[in-house]
Every structure is written in C-alpha cells, then in structure tokens.
Symmetry: D3
Subunit: 244 residues, 6 copies
C-alpha cells in the first residue's frame, strides 16, 4: 500500500520561517525553520581571501556546517571533541559553499571572503536544504550591509538560491521530506536552484530503489514548486529588513 | 574616576530567562539567557558509564562546552574544523562537569552517565556561569524523567547548583559582569555555589590587579546575592514544568 | 564559438581498459583506465562488520579513495602526511560506497564487509567514475571467489553498476570529460546507473552556468550511451576471468 | 574521627628544595621539590612574540606542563603518543602562564617571549603549585640574564609569585597536601599569591564537601603561612646565584 | 637442516625491472620491480626549499613512502584515514631521503627541493631497497630534465646509489630476501651503497639471532654483488632514456 | 689537519653513571649519564599484552622516547603540544624496543608487557645509546622484581644489551661521540651488542662521507671496547641493588 502523508499535501512544504538578524554580532544572520528543523545561519565578512586567491582580484564564499550534539534523537559525538569533522559534515559544507558561490559574481565581491556558518539546533530532515536557503538570506544581509557601508558599490549577487529535498516514499513522490520520511525513502534528491529557473546543484541518492529519467523529471517538478515558495519567503524577509 | 554601571545596580543580575524543554529530543534541555548571553543546555542520559567506572556501581555526570563561531563579535575558528578543542573550552567544560557532579550522589544515579552539552549561541560575558546554572536545570529535567519513568526510585540530586561571576571594574565591585565589564576588569571570580550556602568551586583570576582576602570576602557576598536569585528562578522553572 | 573536441566524438568514451586480477593478494582487483586516467581498484573481504551492524544479519560494502601525490600535474600533499583526508576525498569515497551498496542485497552478503580501495595512479579527469566502474568489477571478482569457495551460496549482486561524467563545455554537451574539458566546463554531472536502466546516484554541479531540466535530460541521455558500453566491457572482463 | 597528619604539623610545608641552574642550556632552570614531588622548570627566551601581539610593543610569558609517564604510581599514557594534551594538562599550563604573567610588567619585557616548561619527574601532589613556585625562579634567572647581558635595562618583574595547595581532609584544614591527602580530601584549593600579599589566582574544588566563606578564609590564612616561606626560599636561591 | 632456496642461487637477485617515465606528469618517474615487489617512484621538483634551508644557497632532497592498502596479503589500514603515518613508514622514508641526499652535492642543486615519492603497489619483501634503487633513477631523470632545460648547468649527482637486503635464513646467508624469507630470517640487513664502493647507510636488525663482525662482513660481500648488478641496470635504463 | 679530541682518548667513553631506582613508583628505573647526556629510563610492568599478541602465550617489550623541550640548546617544540611524535622520535623508540626484545625470551615473560620509557633530561649526543644501555638496567630491575615477587619463576633475560655510537670525525675514528663531534662527523654508527659478543642492531649513516667494509670493521672494534665497559657497569649496578 502506498504511503499516506499526514497533515500536508504531497507537494507542500512544511511551515517555513526565517527570522532575520537573529544574532547581534554577525554581518548577516537568520534562524531558519523547516518544520521542526532549525538552523542558525550566519554570514561573516573577512577582509582577506584564502591563499589560493591572493592577488586574483576576486572574493570567495565558503561555508561550514555543524550540528549540536542533541539536535538529533540519539546524541551525536561532538566533532570538536572527536578531533575531526565527519564525512557527512564535510560533504554538506562543500555543497553549501558551492551553491552560494553560484549566486555571486565573485569578481564583484572584492578581495574579501564571506563565511557562511550553518549550525543545526534541531534536526528533523532537510538540514542541508534549510542551510542553503537560510544561508542565502544571511549572505544577502551581509552584502546589503557592505553596500550600505559603501564597501561595495555594486551588488555582486546574480540571483536567489534556495534548496529543497524531494523523494519517493513508499512509491509516492513527496516534497520536503522530514526525518521519518527521509529514513524510509526509496530515493532522495536534494535540488538547489536559482531564481533564473536553473539547477545549480543536484544530489540524488537511491540506496533503496533507483529512479529513471522520467521519475527524476517528475521529482524536479515537485522541487520547483517548493523552491518557488522559498524564493518568495526569502524576498519578503529581505524586503522587511530593508524597510526597517 | 570609578566605573559607573549603566541600567542596573552594581549588585544586580542582568535579566535572566530559562526556557525549559527548548529542544524536542533531549531528556532535559533549556535555553538560558543572562542578558545577551544565550546558551542551549541539554542533558543526555546514556545507559553506560565511562570505562574507569565500569562495575563500580555508580553513575557519572560530564559536560561538553562549545561556542558557535559567530556567538562572538569576531568569528572564532570552528573547533571541529581546527581539529581540537582549545584550552579555554577544555577548562570550562571540566568546571561545568565538576560543579554538577557536586550536586549529585553518583551512587544513587545507577550505572548510567548524564552528558550536559552547553552550546553558546550568543556570548556577552558569563557563558560558563550561565552554562552551569542552565545545565543544572537540564540535569534536573532529565533526572525527573528517569524518576517519572521508574528508572530511578530515589532522587540522586543533593542540592541546587548555580553560578555567577563577580569582579572589580575600575575599583568597583560588580555582580554578573557582561563582556565589556569582563574585558576591562581588574579581577574576575567565578563562584559556583550550592543552595546549602556552600561554595562548590571558585575560580579567581587577577591578571590586572590582585585581590586580598577581605576583597574576596566582599565579592563572595555579592555572588551569594545573585546566586540566591538564580536558585529561585531554577525552582520556579522546574515547578512549572512539573505542574504542566 | 563552440568548443570542438579533438580525436573523438562528443558522445564517445575515451579508450577504456580493465585489467582484472591486477594484484596478487586482494580477493578482487583491477587496473582500470579511462584514457590517461588510471585507477587500481581492489576488493578486500573481511569476516566482520562495522559495529553499527553487529548482529543485524547483513553485510556491508564501503570504499576508500586516494590519489598518489604525483598522479596530478602539480604534486598534491600526501594525505597520510597531512594527517587527514581532504573534503574532496571524503566526498568521493562516500559516493563510491553508496553506489556499490546499491548493487548488492546486503542481507545476502552475510556478516562480512567488503572494502573497495580505489587508488588513482594517474589522473586525467573522471577518477570517481573510473573508481566506481572498476570498483564494481573488483567487487564482482571478490564475490565470485566467495561463491567459488562456498562461503556464499547465492549471489548477492542485484545488477551491474557503472558511472560516467557528462557536461557542457563551451555550450557543447560532452560524454566522459577529460581533465582539461572538466576544468573549463560550464556544468559537470556524474551519473551512476545500474544495468536495470535506473539512476543510482547523480551529482551535478554548475559553478559556471546552471542547467535546466531539459538540458539535464539531454546530458542523462549522453551518460546512458557511455554507461551501456561500460556495462558491456565489465561483462566481457568478468566472463573472460570466469572462463580462465 | 579526625584525620591525624604524620611527621609534620598541619600548617607545615613538606621539605622544599630548589636547585638553580639545574640544566646547562636554558636561560633559567631549576629542579624544585615539594617533598617527593619533583619538577624541572626551565625558562626559554625567544626574541619573538605570538602573532596576536605582533607590533604591540610588549612581551609575553607562557607555560607548558607535562608529566613523565611514570612520574605517577600507575603509568600515564605519554601525551605525545596520544596525539594531544589532556584536559588537566591544558588547565594547569594555562594557570601557570596566567600566574607568572601577573608577576611581570609585559610592556617592559620588550618584544620577546619567555616560555616556562614545567616537567614533572615525580608526582606526589601539588605539582601545579611546585611548577608555579619553581617557574618563578626560572623566570627570574632568565630575566637576570637578560639584564646582565644588557638586553633589558629595567627589571620587568613586579613581585614574587608562589603557590601552595590547602584543603580540608577528614575535617582538618591542612597546608600543602601530598597525593594521599589530596585524593582523600573534602575540598582542595590552590592559592597563588604575590609578595604584595594579594591573591593572583585561586582555584577551589569541592567534589566531596563544599566550604563556606568562613572556612575559605581560614584556608587562605594557612596558604599565606606556606607561601611566605616559599617567598623566603625563592629569595635565598636567587641571592645565592647572584652572589656566585 | 639448512634452508634451501628455490629457483635462484643464494647470491642471486630476483628479476629486477625498471620502467622509466612510467607516469606522464612527474619530472622523473619509474616503476621498479624486485620480483613481485612493485614500487612507483616519482621525483617532483619544487622551486623552493624547506624553511630551515631558506637563504642557505643549497637545495634539498626528501622522500615520502606509502603502501597501497592491499599491496600486502592482509589489508593494511590506509594511513590517510588513520590520520597518521605509522612508525615503520616514517623510519623508511627518512632512510630513503638520507640515502639519496648522500648521492648529491646539495649546494649544486640550487635553492630547490626534489621530493621522491615511493608508493608500493605490491609488496613481497625489500620495498625500501626497491624504493631507494628506483628513487635514484627517478631523481636522475628529474635532474637530467633540469640540465636539459638549462635550469642546472652542472650535474649535482656525485654517484649512483642502490640498495639491497641481505640476511641469514635458517643458517644460510642470502641476497635479496623475499617476504617469506624475510619473515623467517634470523637477521636482516639493509645495505645502501654508492658506486664508489662505499656504504652510505646500513641498517641491521637481529631480533632472532645476532651476528658477529665476521658474519656481517660476509653479508656485506653478498650485498655488494647484488648492488653492482643494480648499478648496471640503473645505468642501462638512464642511457636508454637519454638515447630516446 | 686531523681532529684532536680534548680530555679523553679516542677510544674512551665519557664518564658514565647509572643511578638505579631513581624514581619511587616504577618497577625499574635509572638515571643514566653519558657525560652531559642524562636520560631517565623507567620500566613499567603491565599485566596485559598488545592485541596482536592476545592468546599467543608470550610477553612483549616496547619502548617510548621523549626529550624535554630544553634538553637541547635550542628549545624543541613539545611533541605533546604539536600533536604528534616526530620522525626521529619514532625511529629511536622503535630501535630501543627491538634492541631490548633481543635480550629477552618473550615466551618466558608470560602474557605481560614491559614498557621502557626513556626521557632525555639533557642532551649532548648519544641519547639513543644511553637510553638502550640504561633501559636494559631498568628492564632488569623490573624483571628481578617479578622474580622476587614470584610472578616469574625463571629469568627470561638471555643476555645483557648495551649500545654506543662510533664515528669518524675529521678523518679520526672515535668512540662515544658528544653532540659537537656528532654534528661534525663524517659518518656515525650506532652499535647495539649483546654480551655474547654479537651485534643486535647496527645503524650507520654517512651523509658526509661513506665508509667501506674495512673502516666499518675498525669502528666496530672501537664500539666493542666501549660496550664491554658498559656491560661491566651495568653488572656492578645490578649487583649493588641485589645486595642492598
């Protein structure tokens, strides 16, 4: 029998909230919630670039990701105590960094680096997508501050970036999987898109049951529905801050 | 000229808030705020003890401490990425662990371990004291759950524990220093007390100007004023949860 | 002006070679070449499973990936000397592991683990795809040995797995990018498929120029052409070994 | 029944010895003994400062602490082999560094760093206090050498620093606890004072039984008795070296 | 009963092969085989020297050594994953570096470093000797390239260097031990010589049965027989490349 | 002109002292001095064996080596703080372990491990030879204790082991090189012998000028002179302890 989702439609996002300027110190910060998933995203501007970019007249955007030990049902070992970041962490923070760099003309950023820190306070599926979606808002807030302070004269952002997961659970294609759906799913695809309608990154995994091109196309359609709503929310939040 | 504190009396705490059950997964959790300082404290119950206690018919309480990279004004390097916890982190988490073990008859805890994770979301001075004060509430919530679930028949907690910093700034003794006061202070003492009126831990540092026994006594008096109020708040929070 | 590929058609693989039983000790091993890219893949059978699978009556397949320091044009730091595996390495070895687990019914593997080591001797683009394609053959050889030795009575492999990269270079969709094409490409997608015609993993990146669903579909078509040829070659190699 | 100390009065130090210039290479060195506790303290002068002090026209004093694996009854793992310094080590070396910096006007030290290495050859309680007391002498010897060599024209030392532990064992307040007393003690306080009669650092721990302000005052009185004697001994040793 | 060697004389090398320019990127590279032992040796020229040689008007030669996890009968843990190089690895790579530096007048190398990477593809005894013998050829190829490109005007190489193991197995002195002979041997000596007839390094180990000076002399005679043949082979290979 | 040694003959050891039972806790301990070189050697008996020997009915002897940061003229970085043991340390501790294992019938040691810790207090050349020579005495003291306590009924030691360095300085063969001689030497050989007159380990290095078999034989003769004296001293010390 097919999976029947409770409380929301198969093509519906969970309740998404973005609280801008959540912390007092960072150049940009948000608390983003995808249902019970809660991530603090901050943007830090540093007036330096990594050594491999020294003298190349461009900036850089990078990301780091972490989870509080009890963001999850079973306590995860604190990576700082273990002495290294796990493979999943490394994989996710590289994805966040690449996705946000795709949003930006780095040559217009000047010789500075923006670090996006995404720290998961509570995890219920979709933490990397929430991190990218919230990370874009934190990045925008930091860039708006640079523009406001005349450290930048031109906005280097090319487009909005947002992300959502889609997957097939018990034969049913679903948008924005929570942890239980994600654990039991046949296939799981994270889609990162720009508001030019193009895909910036796609990561699909099917340890359970693989998918063919047609099913992939159907899931991408679902993703586009969700991401369009996330673009609207990002825009509202950024507008409300500008107005304030 | 002596330092003049704005907005509150020299013997006043900042606004302190404790939100219990802040996260959905841990056996106990709070968000504690000392003014702008915000720390998430969680208590995790594990049905095992560290190897040095195997077969000794007692439990253990330990603590881990971390700061989000942008909890501070200047971004701190993520310890998970650096590959180790810094000296200050190690020093603080050992203090939290010792302080909370002092609150507990470990032989009555059974062969289990409770891990207190204290993660600083925003730092404005006093993070270790907030961690201990909030950590005690998280610990109590977890123990109440064990009692409620009949995994414990007797409460192993001996007393309440809370902590506050005191110090001399510009010649003036102050209670509960914020970051700016702490940075400019002559001497800085963290006092951890039980509600039996006794001192459990004391850590005093005077890189600027040392203090004599009489001045120490005066600062301990200030600390006792603050800690008494923290005991009341802890009690209110725990009672409200029990009633719920 | 559009990119014009030299020496092979846009939808052609480079010369692919697979030398089975390349090393004398491993239960399975190959040297696989995609043009100038050369990877040694070995399969090691261990009669134990990772601790998270103890007692669960299933096996496990995992992978490790490395590059010789001078497999590349500029010498890479030896990861053993640096003290950790870089993010790219971690990302790739997790991909190889997931891809090969998708080929196998782990419950039929018994409580044993097969480790696939992929070591790049020479790198000219597509090392992860060569690793997966060659890793599958090494895995098959090891499983055939277990069957031959009566340690397995039923073949746990569900299907063949192979992988290839596709991408758009200078506006032109291409199959199996070499290093120079990869460096200059607008978008780059690694496609891992089973011989049931389904996609097992997909990883697409577009730091340069994003792609839409239609372009993605076109690239997946190219990938399918290449992977089909890789399935044939894998089959020939495995048959030749069986016959020997 | 109260604890009865053998061989010495409750307010007596163990036999303390300081052998100056114990090693041939360091700018300053001592072997210090508190009874069976033996620590080699060396002072190394480096004509550079840590990066956070570059260009600030001041010097720095820092400390490192270690124990030989068999300085203790049960062999401790060698920290160099474990790959990191334990929490206790970190805590102690930070304490030594802060204590000795309090003795010095760092702006008069010039842009140089003095590193105090404290290596415990044999441990019988009080190693951190012996390290601070001996470390001060090593530091003084190194500074005297800088003065003698005209690398400094003014002595940057503001006062003498020494340290001792006090504690309550079986209800009895004691000065300078040895290992057995320390293990069985109700509370244990390390007091670091300057010869201006002020407390520079205080670290009190009471996992067993906490203490109130009055008891603390009594223990501080005991500490002052011991530290006064340590100041005399430090002075004698330094004078004897100057005379030589 | 004395050990009887199969297939070759007691004073015979295994079949030795050296394939020059084995990889396309390094300045020098070979695949060297001592029987079933196969090592890839590469030489990388870097136009910089380690910091301890900055400004000293000389060059440096260093070596790194690694084994593929399944170069051996039982899989070895990947050192990059373990987070550090084992003691044996460190010992061997220091030996290779010292041996090759002895072949070179470093002051004639200019302020550049040549890194010799020796990666064992398959191990059957004698990997360090094969690494030194092959490493010398890779080094020579890289230096010949520097001479050819006019980056060097004078050849800094002083002599040829080669290495072989000798040992006593079951009472019988043998040249060039394979893994089984090495495992069962009474004593095992690695001899590294220059073609001036002198010993550059000698490492002898006798966990089983020690040797006296006379036996040592006898084994050195055996080593010289083998090394003389290795010098000839090195020379042939280098000449054939020059001719090409 | 040839090098002229001051104060002692070319075939003379420096003043060697061995103080037995130097520390109160270890099962065996000595302070050994070769002139200004001072090393504390301790032997720790653990009633367990490394995992690779579990159930093999034999014991194990291993060694660890360290240097105090200011044992040398220029301060060395503390390896515990650096996070790993350097290559030289690893090389030396492996040599010490192998040398001492050669002295012992491990099957007669029972399933226990003896750890020899060698910590250099002051370094003036020859620290590895002093460590082996002193380590043998510490090992003997520990084994004598096991025999005395009836934990062993038969002495597993097969012979005495001692070590000395020999080398050619300015053309002159010398016994027992100090640091200055070692730094300027043409070739340097560490010889480890048993009192059966056989060589247990030999490590010869000639970065400066290589040596031929005849020169090696001459240096071995020098080594034998020194080691014979070290055997006598070891014997005297052990006898004096037995008598006490």
């Amino acid at each position: 029998m097919d999976y029947i989702r409770q409380n929301r439609a198969n093509n519906a996002l969970r309740t998404v909230k973005i609280i801008p300027n959540y912390l007092m110190s960072p150049e940009g910060s948000v608390l983003i919630e995808f249902g019970n998933t809660k991530v603090i995203c901050t943007a830090t501007v540093e007036e330096t670039v990594p050594s491999f970019l020294k003298g190349k007249e461009q900036g850089w955007i990078t990301a780091e990701y972490g989870m509080l030990p009890r963001s999850t049902g079973v306590r995860m070992k604190r990576e700082a105590a273990s002495g290294k970041q796990g493979g999943r962490t490394v994989e996710i923070q590289r994805l966040i960094g690449r996705s946000l760099r795709a949003a930006c003309d780095l040559t217009k950023l000047g010789e500075r680096q923006i670090i996006i820190d995404c720290d998961v306070i509570q995890a219920d599926g979709g933490t990397r997508c929430a991190s990218i979606t919230g990370g874009f808002v934190a990045l925008s807030l930091a860039i708006n501050k640079l523009l406001h302070d005349n450290q930048l004269t031109e906005n280097p952002l090319l487009m909005q970036i947002a992300a959502v997961s889609v997957g097939v659970v018990g034969g049913v294609p679903l948008l924005d999987l929570d942890y239980i759906e994600d654990s039991g799913c046949d296939s799981d695809i994270n889609v990162i898109m720009g508001n030019n309608g193009k895909i910036v990154e796609i990561q699909g995994t099917a340890e359970g049951a693989a998918f063919n091109t047609q099913e992939l196309t159907q899931l991408l359609g679902l993703a586009e529905i969700g991401i369009t709503q996330l673009f609207d929310l990002q825009q509202q939040v950024l507008t409300s801050v500008q107005a304030a």
